[in-house]
């Protein structure tokens, strides 16, 4: 327990000490929140209605999909995991602790957004706080799982950028953040259902804001939960200690299995 607490404490401090992580965990999502708050409120008054969940999901995307994988890939390439292995640091700690500390940073950012958006932009606060917390945790869990999976299958920092952007950009455009899912044309809507952000937005609207949703929010909850479990499970299975001795238990293409709940969701909903 002492080792876990020590590791957790170090990782959390790294998220503030490291300038890149500080930028991606706090400055980028909060900066974007301020910018979009002023711009979008003018351009699209409907955006204000979903502003709090949308900006929280942007923060989650930034902290998990964009910033979580790169330090892990760099650490593996630099032989840091080798030092961990010979000193008894288990793989599960390497995979879960950065995800947990990132989620803690996200809690801080989410709290700032939730507290200030009603004051500055007139955004409606959550109605159901238990639902709000549940969906926040599930969205962070599902996205952190994808971030971990990217870190495990990426052979370099350049590959990380590619995979991360493959999730981040579509999430911003068709993930229900800027344009509601219900307003997307049929085919784009189906593609949108492949993204965790679409389900997170649907669940936030249904369970935290008590609004009418395009499909039952319970499906979104189940899909996010299954996606997160699959992602972390696959990340653990495909984890590799160093680039020199690449004894991996499975082919990196197995990571695509993490999309299974989202594909099923797109097919059935």
């Amino acid at each position: 327990m002492n080792a876990f607490a020590n590791h957790f404490s170090f990782e959390f401090r790294t998220g503030i000490r490291d300038k890149t992580l500080l930028l991606m965990n706090y400055l980028f999502p909060l900066g974007l929140y301020g910018l979009l708050g002023f711009l979008m409120a003018e351009l699209n008054p409907l955006f204000v209605e979903t502003m709090i969940p949308a900006m929280i999901i942007v923060a989650i995307l930034s902290g998990t999909v964009l910033s979580l994988p790169n330090p892990l890939v760099t650490a593996r390439e630099a032989g840091i995991f080798r030092s961990y292995k010979i000193n008894g640091v288990p793989a599960i700690s390497i995979l879960t602790i950065p995800a947990l500390t990132t989620m803690l940073h996200m809690v801080v950012v989410a709290a700032i957004i939730t507290a200030t958006a009603p004051l500055f932009f007139g955004a409606p606060p959550p109605v159901n706080w238990a639902g709000f917390i549940l969906v926040f945790l599930l969205a962070a869990f599902a996205h952190a799982g994808l971030g971990m999976l990217i870190s495990v299958i990426s052979s370099s920092s350049r590959a990380v950028v590619l995979w991360s952007q493959l999730i981040f950009l579509p999430s911003m455009m068709i993930g229900g953040l800027m344009i509601p899912y219900s307003m997307l044309p049929g085919a784009l809507g189906k593609v949108g259902l492949l993204l965790p952000s679409t389900h997170a937005m649907n669940a936030f609207q249904g369970l935290a804001q008590n609004q009418v949703t395009a499909f039952a929010p319970l499906w979104s909850v189940l899909i996010l939960l299954a996606g997160g479990i699959l992602s972390f499970g696959l990340a653990n299975y495909l984890f590799c200690w160093d680039r020199l001795n690449t004894t991996r238990r499975g082919h990196p293409a197995l990571a695509l299995l993490a999309l299974l709940p989202y594909v099923l969701g797109a097919a059935l909903l």
Partner: protein, 285 residues
């Protein structure tokens, strides 16, 4: 690796020598559980490094040749972090001893390469493991740090710690190791104590003599068992296959010539010379 087999006794310092690519690091990493061998049997204190890695962790301390630590981790955090995983209290005294006391708050990326090596060494031995693997431990260390490392190794050995040392530094191996094995293209070419290895080679003992007069300056003077001779800086130098016989004859000759002996030095063939002989790289040096 190709059919290598060796045993190391408790409390022994065992040196693994060999040219680049001979298999030293592969051997060590297999014993440390970082590599899975294709076949064969590995045991460290009765533990299979491949199958029982968790059990192995507290039995061994490792300083890797290539590894790293998180850039933003401070020196005191490094000690706390790894000691926590080994379930022991942080050993800050060790950091002090290895000259890192003033660097406690420094982040890893700000340390010099020598300081990083010392920190990694401190982490390797902080939990007092019974077996320590050191892969090129003195690479990048200055002279005082090297001496401190050797003192620490001797102390660990006195306390019963077994040390397996892979090094390119022949003087270090000769000075520190109880036994050495020379690896060549994945095989053990020769194994034994440094004295045994140097004694079994074709290496010649160097006898250097300085006299007051010129009794040895005649190149026509020959001595038994001498295969080569030379003159350098007023010294007559003889390479002998039997230094006892040669030295006796030289002293007798000096006395017979009424000359006075000022200096006489006998240097055994070094492990480095034996290493070069075995690895066939003498001509490259």
């Amino acid at each position: 690796m190709d059919g290598i087999s060796f045993e190391v006794q408790r409390g022994e310092i065992f040196g693994l020598l060999g040219p680049n690519g001979a298999g030293k690091t592969t051997t060590l990493e297999s014993l440390e559980g970082l590599r899975a061998p294709d076949g064969g049997i590995l045991q460290v204190m009765g533990v299979d490094p491949t199958r029982e890695s968790r059990k192995l962790r507290n039995l061994i301390g490792v300083q890797l040749q290539t590894s790293g630590l998180p850039d933003s981790m401070r020196v005191d955090e490094v000690m706390r972090f790894f000691c926590a995983y080994h379930g022991v209290a942080p050993n800050y005294h060790l950091l002090d001893r290895l000259g890192l006391a003033e660097k406690m708050s420094a982040q890893y990326h700000t340390l010099s390469s020598g300081q990083k090596r010392r920190l990694e060494l401190a982490v390797a031995v902080a939990h007092t493991p019974p077996v320590v693997f050191l892969d090129e431990p003195t690479a990048g260390l200055d002279v005082p740090s090297r001496i401190e490392l050797h003192n620490l190794m001797r102390e660990l050995q006195t306390g019963g710690t077994t040390i397996i040392l892979a090094t390119h530094d022949m003087a270090e191996a000769e000075k520190m190791a109880d036994r050495v094995a020379i690896l060549l293209r994945g095989r053990i070419a020769v194994t034994g104590t440094p004295r045994e290895l140097t004694a079994t080679g074709a290496g010649l003992t160097k006898v250097s003599v300085l006299t007051e007069g010129h009794s040895l300056s005649e190149t026509s003077v020959t001595f038994p068992a001498v295969s080569q001779q030379a003159f350098k800086d007023e010294y007559a130098i003889y390479y002998s296959t039997d230094p006892g016989l040669t030295v006796s004859a030289i002293i007798a000759h000096i006395e017979a010539q009424g000359d006075t002996l000022i200096d006489l030095r006998v240097e055994r063939p070094s492990l480095e010379e034996r290493f070069l002989e075995i690895t066939g790289t003498r001509g490259d040096q």
